[in-house]
Amino acid sequence: MSKKAVIEGSMAVAEAVKACRPKVISAYPISPQTHIVEDLAKMIADKELDSTMVRVDSEFSAASVICGASATGVRAYTASSSQGLLLMTEVLFNTAGMRLPIVITGVNRTISAPITIQPDHQDTMTLRDAGLIQLYVENSQEAYATHIQAFKIAEDREILLPVMVCMDGWILTHSFEPVEIYDQELVDKFLPEYDPLYCLDPEKPITYGSYADNEVMEFRYMMQEAMERAKDKIQDVALEYKELFGEYYGGLIEEYRTEGADVIVVAMGSVLGTIKDAVDEMRENGQKVGAIKVRSYRPFPAEELYNAVKDASIIAVLDKSLSIGQGGPLATDTKAAFYNKKAPKVASFMAGLGGREVTKETIKNIVYKCKKALELNIVADMEFVDLRREII
């Protein structure tokens, strides 16, 4: 029997990871990732989870331990945030390049300077080119589901790429919500034991991480192809999960009340909860507004996104990270996906940086601005929402 409990988002992740039975876990503490790792440590101490936790000297080592363990043929897991994810960066590119199917929780927190523990997506978005599949989740239950799906996607022999599950720090990791925790048997049925295609084994010696001068292009091509295949895989795994667990959070994207919508708000992560509430209220007032959650940022769902919004007049893309000197990465990728197509206008909004609150009013204001832009036929390049001009 599954059990429903009011637990912290971090505990929901720990429960999901436990159910996936990784053999090696390694991590280094950083807020707001800490509770996940502490919960797992306790599960191991209580013999609820048969796994080794390697308490390392840095995130760089944590990612390296996971890399080595995965190459030796076991399921391996790590989690980090912010500065820790940046310190892992070199290893994560490398692990992806060696096609090792590790799973990482990217607990979103912004990057220093200025230093703060507040959340936004600056950390994980910085890793978008690393060759990781990146899935952003909206709530604790989805975090639970997505971690279980993540191992299945990563380990699929058609994919073999690391999966990073991105979840907003504090907002999700430290808030209590009712979460359904499923039976081990059910999870085992969904996610069989890891059976590596290759691994370091004296019986069958292979070389990992060779030097290559004239093959890099082909390696990258194969990663790109795997990412393309992952689009179907993410969708299929989500549907399979739905069949077994009865829950569905979307495949690559989730559409919310987009039917007949004039204005559609596109965003990622926990802010979707607020956006959906705002959409409900606006719909009640007769406004034709919808929302789209981008669940998979890498691979980027260009086609799915286009098909979902193509009949709208304008879409508002809400970014929680900034490619400084360019703009919001989600908006940039969205615009690229629409180029050469008959598409709605795209308005770009920078919101929630460093934990700046995004309320239903913020969303309504954004929608209002989109309508104004349509009226005037002028769409601004990018707008910082709720900027405190008095301190600039």
Partner: protein
């Protein structure tokens, strides 16, 4: 008993006279086939692993420059999880990857007590990137980043004492070795892998390109390093007295220095007499501290 099969296949791309290639071949003779080797970025990784032409007949992984010890920790934990208690995990990494950029990861691995034999092949500089200084580069040696000039006589700092740092972690076994004494090296690697816990072996490997000598003289130069006392050869097993390789035919440090271009600036006139004396003093101190005299 040493492994008869060559586990480092011939035809790799090392320079003629490469000390690192000799060291690696000998290390694998000692480990045999039941081993997983982790190597950090550097010459060894580059000359043994061109894609599709790997020289490794044992399972081998190279991840990055600064994470050999941590990757090895993951390999070890995975083996344990698979119930494999026999396969040895051995790191073979350069001095740059060990003394400098990978230092934190090694310290962490030692402190965690992982059953790993960490072998540093010490060619005393970053050779793969063109002979830049490392903290293993000896005092007064020139490298491309510590060139001699009117204002400098090469590297101004002494070589970092990694074996002592390893020892300070309280690990099970610390040894130095040289490719010029193959039986000694093999014996030490065998000893290390037979002990449970972290072990550190530092193997002195002459590099003809980086140090500036003829490729035919690799062994001669390596011997002189030991015979002058500049590179003491010893081992310490936890709880036991230090074992030292005695020097029977002691040579002055100049005999070693004059063989190599990296020290030749010290002999252009009288200017650096003091520096040479300083190097001789390092040798004298080693003779005394380690009891090198026969």
């Amino acid at each position: 008993m040493v492994e008869n099969m060559e586990l480092l296949a011939p035809g790799h791309r090392a320079c003629p006279g490469c000390g690192t290639a000799i060291a690696t071949r000998l290390i694998l003779k000692a480990t045999g086939k039941d081993v997983i080797v982790v190597t950090s970025t550097g010459c060894l990784e580059t000359f043994t692993s061109p894609y599709g032409q790997s020289a490794w007949e044992v399972p081998w992984i190279h991840s990055l420059f600064e994470n050999g010890a941590a990757v090895a920790s993951g390999v070890k934990e995975a083996l344990k999880a698979k119930g494999n208690n026999h396969t040895k995990v051995v790191v073979i990494s350069g001095d740059g990857g060990s003394f400098d950029i990978g230092f934190g990861a090694i310290s962490g691995m030692f402190e965690r007590g992982h059953d790993i034999t960490y072998i540093c092949y010490d060619n005393e500089a970053y050779m793969n990137t063109g002979v830049q200084r490392s903290s293993s580069t000896p005092y007064a040696a020139t490298t491309t980043t510590t060139p001699a000039g009117v204002a400098s006589y090469g590297k101004l700092e002494p070589k970092k004492d990694m074996p002592s740092i390893a020892l300070a972690h309280g690990i099970q076994y610390v040894a130095t070795a040289s490719i010029c004494y193959p039986q000694d090296l093999i014996r030490k690697v065998k000893k290390a892998i037979s002990i449970n816990g972290p072990k550190y072996i530092q193997v002195h490997v002459p590099c003809c390109i980086g140090w500036g000598f003829d490729p035919s003289e690799t062994i001669e130069v390596g011997r002189l390093a030991v015979e002058t006392g500049l590179v003491p050869i010893y081992s310490i097993e936890k709880g036991k007295p230090m074992e030292v390789r005695k020097v029977s035919d002691r040579k002055p440090v100049e005999a070693y220095l004059k063989k190599q271009n990296r020290f030749k600036h010290l002999f252009k006139g009288e200017e650096y007499k003091e520096v040479v004396a300083q190097l001789q003093k390092i040798c004298d101190d080693n003779f005394e501290y380690f009891g090198l005299a026969k």
